[in-house]
Symmetry: C2
């Protein structure tokens, strides 16, 4: 049997915790003989959900935590002060090397902060991006970054393109993922200072299949496999996707149920409609990975049901079995990148010292 993959799961995170989280874990354990799970959270509540369930008991542990990071809490404060929360304890298990990955449906901001502050970035990685999957007419697109990294620098986006490409190649089996840069037009002379520079850098970046600038209008049609952007834009695009889809489907429902003909029509189209909605259902891809950390952190939707948690656990298994962090390390030459960063920092420090000296001397 292959090596165990050990995943910490936040039993208290999300709208349906702990019931759906525990159910998802049980289902995953019953399907994956090499999975080990540590559920972090209030032990009595977790035990209540587990009672009567069938699962390989030696593959499941519970780590009792007295605190919970609530959905509305200030992310960084929560991470700093709630040391005994299910989220902080779960992230620490990854940092300490006890677990390979951490899955949570809890407070997004806290996961993003905690990922970089507790699990820590891989040496040489400048920022850890959050990369949700957008389901499209032609399959999944990885939207990288939608995280907390405001005011991006060009070099961050180049690393996002590399990480996204490696992730999609290994996780979904797309051989040569098409990487595009979200911009205001497809031409090379279009864009902000950031995208003009990144477009140039990505053209020269080895190891990725860069297809150039793309417009968000073409994203839902699946023109690329990896859509690179800064976290601010990614956030706006992702939430617009959710918002438009929600409103259109809601209006459609209202309008159908407002007339008798519509009601009959609705009954007739229900099975077809369900098929279509399934195509646009992101939950089968698991959650959004926070990449570039020493272990995998997966952010599942706040309203996750058991199926999404189960898929997130399967995602953690694939991530470890495919050795994605080893591949990032080698292909992105992270050792070298880290050394360069230290060199640049020292150079900048020298310059700063010199400038300070001059100023003081005046």
């Amino acid at each position: 049997m292959s090596e165990f993959v050990h995943v910490a799961v936040d039993a208290m995170g999300g709208d349906n915790a702990p019931a759906e989280i525990v159910k998802g874990v049980v289902n995953a354990l019953n399907g994956c003989p090499n999975l080990k799970v540590t559920l972090t959270g209030k032990e009595d509540l977790v035990r209540a959900e587990l009672s009567g369930q069938q699962y390989p008991a030696d593959q499941l542990e519970i780590l009792n935590c007295t605190e919970v990071v609530e959905m509305g809490e200030h992310p960084v404060n929560a991470i700093r002060t709630k040391k005994d929360s299910s989220m902080v304890r779960g992230l620490r298990l990854v940092r300490e090397g006890v677990c390979d990955a951490f899955v949570t449906a809890g407070n997004s901001g806290a996961v993003l902060a905690g990922g970089q502050l507790i699990v820590l970035k891989l040496k040489g990685i400048e920022r850890a991006p959050l990369a949700p999957i957008l389901p499209t007419a032609k399959g999944p697109v990885l939207l990288i970054d939608c995280g907390a990294n405001m005011d991006a620098r060009p070099s961050w986006l180049v690393q996002f393109a590399q990480m996204g490409s490696i992730y999609m190649r290994n996780m979904t089996g797309i051989e040569n993922p098409r990487v595009g840069l979200i911009n205001v037009g497809t031409e090379d002379d279009k864009g902000s200072a950031l995208t003009l520079e990144v477009n140039k850098l990505l053209k020269e970046c080895p190891g990725i299949n860069y297809v150039g600038n793309i417009e968000t209008r073409d994203l839902p049609e699946g023109v690329v496999d990896v859509a690179v952007t800064d976290a601010f834009t990614g956030n706006a695009v992702l939430k617009m996707y959710e918002g438009v889809a929600k409103v259109i489907l809601h209006e459609l429902k209202e309008v159908l149920l407002s007339t008798v003909a519509g009601k009959i029509g609705a009954l007739l189209i229900k099975p077809s409609l369900r098929g279509m909605l399934k195509k646009f259902d992101a939950s089968e891809y698991g959650g959004a990975p926070l990449l570039g950390l020493r272990g995998l952190v997966v952010k599942a939707h706040g309203n996750s049901k058991a199926a999404e948690i189960q898929h997130a656990l399967e995602q953690c298994i694939t991530f470890k079995e495919k050795k994605i962090n080893d591949i990032l390390y080698t292909e992105m030459k992270l050792e070298e990148a880290a050394a360069n960063r230290v060199k640049n920092r020292d150079k900048n420090k020298d310059n700063a010292d010199r400038n300070n000296g001059t100023e003081k001397g005046e």
Copy 2:
């Protein structure tokens, strides 16, 4: 009878030019006794479309132009070199004060460049924003800016908020338009360097009903009347809106027509569906205004039909009758703003001179 409103219309711009453009102009002329139109474009083609049509002939002129700015052309180059194009001549009519407004369905980039380069900005306006209407479940939202103003400064967005608010109040009759700032979260401590600063400034900005940060997820539900953002984000959000709506409706159609039950259902729901699609049809609001210029420039969709052109002309009439530019001038204290800008420029120049002097002296 009230004063005439004189509008230049680009007969050659857009996918359906000149036929639909001319038809839209004829319909508008037949409904608006105080409208005067100058159609810019190839006179023989325009005359061919006009032949057999009924309209008040003394309210229509044709200005023959030998060139056309094509859809794929480089915007700034086109504006600079095609002096006898229907677009450049139309914009010049506004600059020269012959016309009050210019309507085109042509090359977006060229309109944006031409608006600022040819028509020129109002004194005191820092950048002219393009502000399309997004139809939502609860009425129209003005998305300002979606134009060509990359790498925005905080002060630009404050002016966008003011312009957008004045525009919506006067054009749609919403008494106290709710103004929101697109951001990654609603809390005051969320955002990029730009949005953190703009959120602070908007809270102190007199004359607008600022409701704070908003997330794009809530935009399609109509939580605000004016959504302020930088042009890069606005562009990504607008095109995502179009892309998602297009793909969902396309998939819906495919799925309905793939089964017999679906086909029958589709026939039954067709009338209801049409009502819903009408609700989300932006064309009844006319085109996107380019605000803050010495006259109004309206960018209609590239695929505009006669109805959108007609509505764009009605939009120009309202804009002039409501004296929106006079209101901008007074409420935004543009005289003062222009004077401050000159003062700041001089101060910056003095500082630069002083710094240069120091450097040279070392």
